[in-house]
Amino acid sequence: MATTSFESLAAGVAETLDLPDLRIVAVEHPLGGIDEAAVIGRAEEAVEPTLRLLTGS
């Protein structure tokens, strides 16, 4: 998982590790400094994209 601001960096590092198809889910940046409800909201928003990446459906 990465936040939106670091998504390209994560993809770039995955590329350098010869894992161009590494499954990356991005949540809204920032993650630091937000309250608990906001963190949980981001987690819930990530469920569907994560499921699609993990199972292809």
């Binding site: 998982m1 894992l19 993650l31 937000i34 199972t55």
Partner: protein, 90 residues
Amino acid sequence: MRVYAPVGAVAPAAISRAVTEPTLAGKRIGILDNSKPNAGLLLRRLAESLAARTGATVGPVERKNAALPAPDDLLARLAEAEVVLTGSAD
């Protein structure tokens, strides 16, 4: 005129991506918390929601400093899971 490119070769990587699981039912969702602020909570809640939705279970749950490589024993524990969620950067 000819000049050299400055980057050189890349050493072969010794890692590969895990296969896609057609379903998560009965699978284990591991967590590698990189200890950045709110990362643990985000990963845990995501894993719990995925487990509730699909019939997977959560665990192993591991934690490490984001700035250091993961010890071999930690990676060995995580390798027991079919899926691992982890964070990158801040």
